[in-house]
């Protein structure tokens, strides 16, 4: 049997599986609005500064960039992949909290932004 017959279908199937995983993810859970922006060049913010979720809870962060420059929303520690939010735009990212309680920083990783205040605390509380 020629394996070549399977090469293209294999690549296509992988991409389709990824598309299906993206499309069939189901509900994004509770929506949490986060506003991002700048007060001035030295002072930037995420609002709110602290977010509480329950262990194992699935949530969707809706990040609204109300500033005049691009911002990012990410946390390597919590397993939230980088999302770039262009100025004036809104971006969404769905995330499931770990089953163990914990505290994680979420930040904008653009040079100087985190230092200017773009960091919030994500607290995973024990499930009731």
């Amino acid at each position: 049997m020629h394996r070549s017959r399977f090469a293209l279908p294999l690549v296509a199937a992988t991409l389709l599986a990824a598309a299906a995983a993206a499309a069939c993810g189901g509900s994004g859970g509770r929506e949490i609005i986060v506003r991002a922006g700048e007060l001035d060049a030295q002072h930037m913010y995420f609002d709110p500064r602290e977010i509480h979720v329950q262990a194992g809870e699935k949530v969707t962060f809706v990040i609204e960039n109300e500033g005049a420059s691009d911002h990012e929303f990410e946390s390597d520690e919590a397993g939230i992949e980088e999302v770039v939010i262009p100025e004036g735009r809104t971006r969404r990212t769905t995330w499931t909290a770990p089953k163990q309680p914990g505290r994680y920083p979420v930040y904008c990783d653009i040079a100087g932004h985190r230092e200017a205040g773009m960091e919030l605390l994500l607290v995973v509380d024990p499930a009731p």
Partner: protein, 281 residues
């Protein structure tokens, strides 16, 4: 598990495709002995990424986002340049790989060319390797099942490798001329995506390309570039839901100019006009 699987599959797929094309090309032109520098480049990048990520994780040192973006951006532009060179190098080689002229290829691979292939393999694997490893290490400790998390990551790398192997295997069964044309087109598309992604990374790192112009459009509602499928397209063809105008111009210009140059530099077995990079050492 699914999450770590998707990340390593996505990041590994591009490297697997490039490696499959390079190895397939070398095998079909009788340069199998040059597999060694390619594997060395890929292995060195994988090992260095893993070692650096483990060291940074154990030392609890956080690599600044700007530095990560700079590494990625420079790696992407470097890979674009080498892929571009490789397309024309393959084009020059393909002239002599006719049914009766195959022997002439044997000595055509110079030391410099082998080093460039090793560098291409290194940048293909290492460009995203460090960031992916860092992200996986950081997220691994918070996963509900660390064993499943790492099993997923390994399965992603394994699946990407299987796809690369299938492409390599398939490349042996298509006519040589078709192989050169198809793989050259694939490399051009991959390079164009790397070019636009590289510009954006260096822009975000605030190192180069400080002004890429306004956003050309916004297709986020149609296909979010942070969805699983969107991220796959971003990796393979440079998809960006809201690209800067400068990225679009670079992408379109690259894909407009490259096929023309590709056609102008061929075809015809026995042609004497060869790009300097392809000249024999």
């Amino acid at each position: 598990m699914g999450y770590s699987f998707l990340i390593t599959l996505r990041e590994g797929l591009e490297a697997a495709l490039i490696l499959a094309i390079i190895l397939g090309y070398l095998a079909r032109t009788g340069h199998r002995q040059h597999w060694r520098p390619v594997w060395f480049g890929a292995g060195a990048a994988g090992g260095a990424s893993l070692a650096a990520a483990v060291a940074l994780h154990l030392l609890a040192v956080e690599l600044p986002g700007r530095l990560q973006e700079a590494i990625e951006g420079i790696g992407m532009l470097l890979a674009t340049a080498i892929l571009t060179w490789m397309v024309f190098w393959m084009r020059a080689q393909s002239r002599t790989v006719g049914a009766n002229l195959r022997a002439r290829v044997d000595a055509a691979l110079s030391t410099g060319s082998a080093a460039a292939l090793a560098l291409l393999a290194f940048t293909s694997v290492g460009r995203e390797g460090l960031e992916t490893a860092l992200f996986l290490f950081a997220g691994g400790s918070t996963a509900d099942s660390e064993a499943l998390y790492w099993a997923g990551a390994a399965a992603g790398v394994g699946t990407a490798s299987v796809i690369g192997a299938a492409v390599y295997s398939g490349s042996h069964r298509i006519p040589l001329r078709t192989f050169f044309t198809v793989t050259s087109l694939m490399l051009m598309v991959l390079a164009a995506g790397l070019l636009t992604n590289g510009l954006k990374e260096l822009h975000e790192a605030n190192i180069l390309f400080g002004n890429l112009g306004p956003r050309a459009w916004d297709t986020y509602e149609l296909l979010p570039d942070n969805s699983s499928f969107g991220r796959f397209l971003a990796t393979l063809v440079g998809y960006d839901a809201s690209p800067f105008l400068g990225q679009v111009v670079a992408y379109v210009a690259y894909l407009a100019v490259m096929p023309v140059l590709y056609l102008l530099t061929g075809p015809g077995e026995g042609s004497t006009a060869q790009p300097r990079a392809a000249a024999r050492a």
